[in-house]
């Protein structure tokens, strides 16, 4: 078994994704990014938009210099598409562990041992990643280093030489057009999860009680675990309350329904609008904020049993600070 157009050593999409991640970032075949990442790839993360595999190589080197023992075991790959059409797509969930032993973008080494999740949406064809959306749990990283995301965002702006010069977080204005334009696949599981989030974002919070397992285990941004319908309600209400009129959009939906696995769904979504309510992000600042979110859900016999949601709190605070001081 192999994937048409791909190196025959990969037996399927999950194998390719797990394999190249291990090769590049753990075994240090960083030069292999020239092969595994398209020359003109766009990697969007909430913190910034990186263009080209040279940019990715530079960023990778900087990360490995600061966190040399970093490990990235892959927890899941939720995928869709067809090799023949060039539409293969993977939503990859990783658990990253690393020790902050060297100076770098996070400042002087703190010795902090971190564990956080990453969700990476990659479009792949011909053995290469050619379009990417990546959300790293920056909130978890900075908290485990003993800082809070707002203070870190302020420091980051200062380290990057002020509001004018600093690296600008992702917004629709500085995003680059995607070459992967498919919106996923069509499955009951994917549609169900998309419907749940749409209704929750429409303030129909009661759907949580009906659809989340009483023992649902939830992993929210900042490395914050939560439990059951109550935990889910608190999280989603807190987010929505900070951006009550922002536009919620689901950009990509994947569902995987396989024997011997829970039904799983991966969504990529955004919330774009004014920070004009009291909620998770404190006092309303009226800043215009763009939030890129990726979430995975697993459904069992008693409803949504696991949910993993990531957005980048630091990038949100950075947008607020850049506009409001």
């Amino acid at each position: 078994m192999s994937i048409p157009g791909f190196d025959p050593r990969w037996k399927d999409v999950p194998d390719y994704i797990h394999g190249i991640t291990e090769d590049i970032w753990e075994k240090r075949h960083i030069h292999a990014l020239k092969d595994y990442y398209a020359d003109d790839i766009i990697v969007r993360s909430p913190a910034t938009v990186v263009q080209g595999n040279k940019g990715v190589i530079a960023a990778t080197l900087a990360t490995l210099a600061e966190w040399p023992d970093r490990e990235l075991p892959g927890e899941d790959v939720i995928w869709c598409g067809h090799a023949e059409e060039g539409t293969l797509f993977s939503s990859h969930r990783l658990i990253c562990s690393a020790t902050h032993t060297h100076p770098g973008a996070y400042g002087a080494p703190t010795g902090a041992k971190l564990r956080y999740r990453i969700l990476a949406d990659c479009a792949i064809r011909d053995n290469q990643v050619y379009d990417e959306w990546l959300v790293r749990d920056q909130g978890a990283i900075v908290r485990q280093m003993g800082m809070d995301p707002l203070a870190f965002a302020r420091d980051q702006i200062a380290r990057e030489e002020g509001k004018e010069a600093c690296v600008k977080p992702l917004t629709p204005a500085n995003d680059k057009p995607a070459r992967y334009t498919t919106s996923g696949n069509t499955t009951e599981t994917g549609s169900h999860y998309a419907d749940l989030l749409t209704r929750i974002m429409g303030a129909e919070i009661s759907v949580i009680n009906i659809n989340y397992d009483r023992a649902a285990q939830l992993e929210y941004p900042g490395g914050v675990p939560a439990l059951g319908p109550k935990g889910a309600s608190e999280f989603w209400i807190g987010l929505r309350a900070s951006f009550p009129n922002a536009q919620f959009k689901i950009d990509h939906v994947v569902g995987n329904e396989e024997a011997g696995r829970p039904n799983r769904a991966a969504l990529r979504w955004s919330l774009h609008g004014k920070h004009e309510g009291w909620g998770t992000f404190g006092a309303p600042s009226q800043a215009d904020v763009y939030i890129l979110g990726i979430s995975h859900a697993e459904f069992g016999p008693r409803g949504l049993h696991r949910e993993y949601v990531l957005f980048d709190e630091v990038a949100i605070w950075k947008q607020i600070v850049l506009q409001k001081g």
Partner: protein, 340 residues
């Protein structure tokens, strides 16, 4: 037509209100402990039920009712969220449920844990219950007592000492469970023959035979293990460290598997539930510190979920290990007399 379990086996002898055996287990747990239908224990628990906890054996549903009331008083907001029911049946109306629960609560009232602290806890419990005719008649239950005492601000070894003292000293204190105190509760099943149960039993047996390098092959790199002391670890290194640390404190103890279940259910990964024990001398350096020669019995309940990653045949993706550190320390302190 009587209701059927998911695998088609008839579900007979139980009230019609339960759609299958997991539904019964989840339902009565909620009814008894959360809806406060404590008196329903008279119905759902046999008069002469035998309940084995790592900290001792209880007999009869009245004892269970009294113990439950004490817990509810100290933690009035306690919740019991049923995570999974891994079960087997003997085809003759007797079932064994290995029920994994997340329990949460707030220490709001003075009690076993001292003055109320307002601290919250969240731990796991696994309860192996034998049931027939709508009634639980035999049970093995392990709470992550180590996780609970840590979250309430204590250390298991200190807490075990204070328990001995509070219970009237070495002579009078409540004795942790040992097979020599066991009483036949009537359930003699050993589970089922499903391949996933067999595989996990084999993994644990080989680990206990000190074949630790199999962890790198049989566990996924991203395996999450939920360990005693409410510790969540990820990947081979820390999983390995847990099992080596345990075995190395009791290197010559006898490892036994008493019950094994494997299941493949819709919308669930293949999974296994094993009840095991380690019985013997505390004669090595390890997780339990300096060897003391104490005779220790460790009750263990573990669940595993398998996934598709790694070598062909897949690997363990999640593991839940329950043993009671406080009862282990209590047995050690009772031997050394190092109390007070």
């Amino acid at each position: 037509m009587p209701p059927h379990n998911e695998d088609g086996e008839k579900f007979e002898g139980f009230s019609q209100r339960w759609k299958d055996f997991p539904d019964y287990i989840l339902g009565i747990t909620h009814e008894i402990w959360e809806s406060r239908g404590l008196s329903t224990l008279n119905h759902y628990y046999a008069d002469d039920v035998i309940m084995r906890f790592p900290d001792g054996l209880l007999r009869g549903n009245q004892t269970v009712i009294n113990g439950t009331m004490a817990t509810i008083v100290e933690f009035p907001d306690r919740q019991l969220l049923g995570e999974d029911v891994i079960w087997s049946g003997d085809g003759k109306g007797s079932y064994l449920s290995s029920h994994r629960i997340i329990t949460t609560g707030t220490h709001l009232v003075d009690g076993v844990f001292g003055k109320a602290t307002g601290k919250k806890f969240r731990i796991r419990v696994i309860a192996d219950c034998a049931a027939k005719n709508d009634t639980i008649y035999d049970e093995w239950l392990i709470r992550d007592y180590g996780g609970m005492v840590r979250q309430l601000g204590f250390e298991p070894h200190d807490f075990a000492r204070s328990l001995i003292e509070a219970e009237g000293g070495l002579e009078n204190c409540r004795k942790p469970f040992h097979p020599s105190h066991d009483v036949d509760g009537g359930y003699h099943g050993t589970g089922n023959a499903n391949a996933w149960g067999e595989r996990y039993a084999n993994i644990l047996t080989r680990i206990m035979d000190k074949d630790f390098d199999l962890i790198a092959r049989e566990y996924d790199r991203a395996c999450i293990s939920e360990l005693p002391g409410s510790r969540t670890v990820v990947s081979h290194h820390d999983i390995d460290a847990f099992w080596i640390g345990l075995r190395s404190s009791f290197p010559s103890a006898k490892f036994e598997i008493h019950h094994q279940i494997g299941r493949e259910d819709p919308m669930m990964p293949p999974r296994a539930a094993i009840r095991w024990s380690l019985t013997g001398k505390h004669d090595g350096w390890g997780t339990y510190g300096r060897p003391t020669g104490a005779e220790v019995h460790i009750m263990g309940l573990t669940h595993a979920e398998f996934g598709p990653f790694g070598p062909p045949g897949g690997t363990v993706r999640r593991e839940y290990v329950l043993l009671d550190e406080v009862s282990i320390w209590k047995q050690i302190h009772m031997h050394t007399g190092a109390v007070g």
